[in-house]
Symmetry: C2
């Protein structure tokens, strides 16, 4: 999903993403180093969720190896800043294309065909989940909601298997 051309109004391009990240780091007095930039770019360009080792390989060139541990550190940083998300069910990472309100829950829509991951949010889901948790006497600190299935583009592409 999102790889069909002519439909990119729903997320900023890689360039915009990098510019946004740089501005955000400057605002917060943090360093947007070359490694962090490269990792974010690799995640943003991939079009699907990337494992840390995929990113490390993608960033490595014959003379210059990027170790997975460096990628993990960059990803930790980028996640703290809300620039990338981790997909727990895949052990993989995607760029944040959504611009979230603070504390807002995110729903990840993972296409099993194209591997793309879209973000959604819903106050309705948020609200009903909150009520359910309260009824259960549970105080949430963090929640993950990941849905696997077929995105619209892939469903249209092969309508009747």
């Amino acid at each position: 999903m999102h790889r069909h051309e002519g439909h990119d109004a729903c997320h900023a391009g890689t360039g915009d993403m990098l510019a946004r990240a740089e501005g955000l780091c400057r605002e917060r007095g943090l360093q947007f180093t070359p490694l962090r930039r490269d990792v974010l770019e690799a995640v943003a360009e991939a079009g699907k969720a990337q494992g840390a080792y995929d990113i490390a390989e993608r960033l490595s060139v014959p003379g210059k190896r990027v170790a997975p541990v460096s990628v993990y550190r960059a990803l930790d940083f980028l996640m703290e800043q809300g620039l990338v998300h981790r997909i727990a069910s895949r052990n993989a990472f995607i760029p944040c294309t959504h611009g979230h309100a603070p504390g807002e829950g995110v729903i990840f829509l993972i296409c099993r065909t194209c591997g793309g991951v879209d973000e959604a949010s819903s106050e309705e889901v948020e609200g009903s989940l909150g009520r359910t948790l309260e009824r259960a006497g549970f105080t949430p600190t963090h929640s993950i909601l990941e849905v696997e299935g077929d995105c619209g583009a892939c469903r249209d592409r092969k309508p009747a298997p």
Copy 2:
């Protein structure tokens, strides 16, 4: 959670769980082998989510080692039969204490203090999530919803940190 005595009406004991599993396998013409029984028992007795290697260690005795790969196979079987669940955010497994309707979504409530995992379900959440997905043009096949926080018992135990 669930480890406070005097409050176990909310889930069946380990014995009931094993009996239910055996009956269910007989019904379906499947083998409830000793290994599968032991793995299910280990998961059920633990009181919190167990990693596959934890289970392997727990089942190993000086003369008789149970390899993790065997545990994984047993867990795969038990998951297919709906007897255990996998907690993606923890890479760990819990017994199913809930008796789900087929296709029904489950919400996992993971206590960050005691490590216990409770199951909940909510038609309200289910419905609002379904509407959100439809609005996004996404056809779901499977979804995971895991919430981390403090369960009631742990919150009561230390009211003002």
